[in-house]
Every structure is written in C-alpha cells, then in structure tokens.
Amino acid sequence: MLEDRFLIWRFKHGRTDAFRRIYEKYEGFLLTLAANLLGDAGAAEDVVQDVFISFVQSAENFNLRGSLKAYLATCVANRARDRLRKEKRRQTVAVNEAEQIASHTDGPLQLVINSEELLRLSNALIILPYQQLETIVLHLHGGLKFRQIGQLQNVSTKTAQSRYRYGLDKLRSILDGEVKK
C-alpha cells in the first residue's frame, strides 16, 4: 500500500515509469476480475484498458484514500456493470426488432482452468444473478470488504453479505445438482 502511494506520487510528478509499474502490478488482477464479471475475454480487456486510460487522465486530481487495488477493482466493477447494461439493452432491442446482433462473446474465455471442476464452476458463475456474482468476485478476487461492496452497489453491508451468501449457496446447489446428474 505504501508502495502504491509512492508510485502514485511519482506518477503525478511526471514519472511514467511509475505508471508502468502500477500497470504491471495490477493488470493481471484486474483482467481476472473483469473476465469473471463479464465472462468475456475481449470485453474484459477493453474494460481494464479503459480503466487504466481513465486513471492516466485523472491522475493529477487523484487522491488515494484506501488501497489502490480496491480502487481499481471498483473501477473495473463499475465499467463492467455499465457494459453489461448496454449489452443487455442492445440484446433487448435486437430481440424486439427480430434482428441478429452478434454476441459480445468473441470466443471462449481463456480462464486458466485445469480441471473439470473449475470449468463447471465457471459455467455456474455465469448463471448467477449479476449482483451476487459481482459480490462474490469482488470479495474473493478483488479483496473488497462487504462494506466497500455495499457502497459500490448502493446497499448496506448486510445486504452485500447476504448477496455473497446467497450466491455461494446457489453455486453450491448448481455444482451439486450437476454432480447428482
């Protein structure tokens, strides 16, 4: 965390190498976060790229209050939600107009899945209601506390905790149900 503050300070004073260090430090983490939220590799890359570009453009006025990791994770979550909202609108329009619109999913998500269990888990995550998925991903991958997730989702900490719990239960039932089959 101290390192992040030092890197931000250096970057604000014109050191592009400091930004490069931030990018390299969090790029992978943010991509995983975005990919799990969106279920789409291309979309995840776009979102993370946009987050970094936005960070560059607002660095002069940027004041880090918590951790940089949490801040960037929140940015990714916000952009991912915006993107999904737009995609949903697009898909709705397409259905209404009976048009064929190419899916935003360009290809299989390149998650590092080395077991059948993880593959099933990945498929199950996509089925979850988005708010539950977001809570689980932000908490487990983003390291955000339920208080932070609640603020992000504009709900209480308890609601965030409940969404997390419901999400996990649902996942468990999905996975167990599949196993039962």
């Binding site: 930004f19 570009i53 888990l121």
Partner: protein, 287 residues
C-alpha cells in the same frame, strides 16, 4: 453438499490469462494514451508557467523590458525587410508618367570634359528616341535643337557663328529613357547586379543597377560597355546614370548623367530654335 470454503477456494483459482498479443495490444494502447496525455499536459502547462513567472515583480519588469527590446528590434528589422524589392518593370511603369526630362551630363571626349545640359520631350510616337530634344554645352555654348514637328535639326556653333540645319531628326537623347531599353535590361539580368543602399548625395534609398553590356570590345569608345544606373527606390526612376567604355567599370566614365529631373516645366516653344541674327545659316542636304 460441499462446504462454502471449498467453493471460495475454487473461485479464487479462476484466473484469467490473456494472450501475449492481447497484453501487448493493451499495453500499447494504454501507453499511447499516457503519451498523449503527457503531451497535452505539457501544452496546458505553458500558460500556468507564464502566470507563475508574471507573479514576480522583478521578472514582470524584466519580461516587459525584453518585450519592448524585441519589439524595437523587430520594427528595425521589419523596416529593413520591408524595403521594397526593385523590379525593372516598376521603372517601365513609372516612366509612363514621364513626358519630359532635364539632364545634366559630364561628357569626356578626347581628354576634354564637357558639361552638358539636355532637355527631351516624349515624341508623338510615344518615345524619347527622336522626340523633341535640346542640348547645350556649358563649355562653348554649342547648342543642338531637334524639333520633331518641323522635322529639323539645328546645330549652332557660337564660336563660328554658324547654324547648320538638317531637314531630319539627326540627334536624340538616346533610347535610355524608353521602355525598349528597360525591356532589354530585363532580358539581360544575367549581366546585371542589383545593390540596395543609400545614395551618398541625396541620402535617398536607392537601388544601384550594374550592367555589363555584352558588346564586342572593338566598338567605338563612346559606346557603353558597362553602366551603373542609380534608381530612386521611391519613384523607381533613375537619378544617375554612369557609363564606361570598358566592361569593368574601370577609370573615369566617359559619360555621367549627374542630375535627372522628371517632367520639368517647358514652354511650348522651348524646342523652337531662334536663329541668331549674326549667324550664318547653312542648310545641309536632306540626305
């Protein structure tokens, strides 16, 4: 029913590994955005630096002084740079408003220096070449008058008290003042040098045209082989005209037009020659 902890551990294992190309593409785009931002920031910073600098009084006065000096210098340089470039066509144009000239000439012939005054008026054909012309020698009073309307030329020799009359136009101020000559000069620019400066006599801004006349060296001495014409940059008209009989502007010139006045007031009968009562008139054959 699997425990929640197990699912949490599994979820944490779901990591995304982008392709090397995708990572490179992202990095390039982000660093490009950073580069653009830095450039924009640098451009935006300039006025801020200026504002900070201008907050200090001493710097403010220094900057003001520098600006004033720069302005003065630029005015001086601008003044120099706006000196109109001379073109011969400007002289041709200026001569269109000239109908008569008065010239004072120093002529050197066989070691004798003659002070000559000449007047010329544009002829009916629109040229000075064989228009009305009068020449008076300050040394001996020899006078030559050419009257275009009479188609006569008078040579008066006061020493011999003779007036020779030719029923034709024998003498001319030359073609120097006509368009043809300057058009010829335009064609001769490879033999012409132009110098800009101030005239030592009048102090006027002038352009000095140096012309090496490309004529064979065996020509008569009285034929110009090199010339210097001084043009007034304001009027574009020649104010002095000097001719040498060598091609290198060497030695004393054989002819100097030391004064050229344009459009002098001349009476109608200025080119009408009055034969002196005691002169012997000799009518020369027409051919």
């Amino acid at each position: 029913m699997r425990p929640a902890e197990n699912i949490e551990k599994l979820i944490k294992k779901l990591r995304f590994k982008p392709s090397a190309q995708a990572r490179q593409r992202m990095l390039t785009n982000v660093m490009q955005a950073l580069d653009n931002h830095e450039k924009q920031k640098s451009a935006d910073l300039q006025p801020n630096i200026w504002r900070i600098v201008m907050k200090t009084k001493i710097i403010k006065f220094t900057v003001a002084a520098v600006i004033i000096i720069a302005m003065v210098l630029s005015i001086i340089l601008l003044d120099k740079s706006v000196t109109p470039a001379y073109g011969i066509e400007q002289t041709i144009e200026a001569f269109k408003k000239v109908n008569a000239v008065y010239v004072e000439q120093i002529f050197r012939e066989k070691g004798i220096l003659l002070n000559i005054k000449m007047w010329a008026r544009r002829g009916s054909h629109g040229k000075f070449f064989f228009g009305d012309f009068r020449r008076e020698s300050g040394n001996n009073g020899d006078t030559t008058v050419v009257n275009e309307s009479e188609n006569r030329t008078y040579f008066y020799n006061p020493s011999a008290k003779t007036v020779r009359i030719y029923e034709r136009l024998n003498v001319t101020i030359g073609n120097f003042l006509d368009e043809d000559y300057f058009l010829h000069l335009q064609q001769e620019m490879e033999n012409v040098e132009l110098e800009y400066g101030k005239d030592k006599i009048t102090g006027k801004e002038v352009v000095i045209l140096k012309y090496k006349v490309p004529i064979p060296s065996e020509y008569d001495k009285s034929v110009s082989k090199s010339e210097v014409i001084t043009f007034d940059l304001e009027t574009k008209l020649p104010i002095r005209w000097t001719s040498w009989d060598n091609s290198d502007f060497k030695g004393e010139p054989y002819s100097e037009w030391t004064l050229i006045e344009y459009n002098p007031k001349l009476s109608e009968d200025f080119f009408k020659f009055e034969i002196p009562e005691d002169a012997n008139v000799i009518k020369e054959p027409s051919k």
